[in-house]
Symmetry: C2
Subunit: 146 residues, 2 copies
């Protein structure tokens, strides 16, 4: 047997570090834009978008898609329900589960948030890379997620 780790090339570590930094930077740009305009945090948008695209979902599915911890999502939904943006209702075919749906107000909010969000994305990515580079970046990142 051979327990030796294959050496980790330096460039991999560099890519790792930059992935962390690029995300933090982008996130803080976008969160900044949203806050400046008095909007809720980014994850609210993500939940709203997911529900608008895919229809009512169970927390379980949202969790898998958005990569949030279960207890965090549970409380995030609490807040969004309190704000009137989503609704919980019991799940017909599974007594344990719930169905979470976006409300009319939720759709309205998502729409209002979009311009600020888009501005942030443009600043974080759109303005820094050529189109062909963005395409390549998207391709490479997909491989990291798959």
């Amino acid at each position: 047997m051979n327990g030796a780790k294959p050496a980790l090339p330096e460039v991999t570590v560099t890519a790792w570090a930059r992935l962390m930094r690029a995300q933090r930077r982008g996130l803080s740009i976008v969160e900044g834009k949203l806050k400046d305009e008095g909007f809720p945090p980014l994850e609210w948008y993500d939940v709203l978008l997911e529900l608008e695209r895919r229809g009512p979902l169970r927390p379980r599915d949202l969790q898998a898609t958005l990569l949030l911890a279960q207890s965090n999502l549970s409380r995030l939904l609490d807040r969004m329900v309190r704000a009137g943006l989503v609704e919980r209702s019991s799940c017909p075919d599974d007594g344990r589960g719930l169905s979470v749906a976006i409300t009319r107000e939720g759709k309205f909010m998502r729409n209002k948030m979009w311009p600020a969000y888009a501005e942030g994305i443009a600043e974080a990515i759109g303005m820094r890379l050529e189109r062909s580079e963005i395409e390549e970046l998207a391709r490479l990142l997909r491989l990291l997620i798959a």
Copy 2:
């Protein structure tokens, strides 16, 4: 005047979403490895590495490099001081500032953490991309940070 936003291409939004997801995924892989072996969180490593590479630094500089919020860094340093991994001392040339240095124990800890960290990086990036792709990814991400 023309306040119209240049349209944000769909691929840019895709790249953004994947950047967020790829980072979260990578982070959770690495944090998982560290926790499994009873090590402190990733940011501790980052602070230790930075101090080991660049020598004693002021919180201000750490903050700029690591992109941490000022008050968070202040308390992160509290914890690391309590754990004996770094030391604060007053700054000779600026009465407001501090100098933060890594201790012998801190260096030891960083060393112990590295294998688990490296394993996580390999799993998050190294194993998923070809070397040439990693190089390209590193190049593109650098543009997002610069």
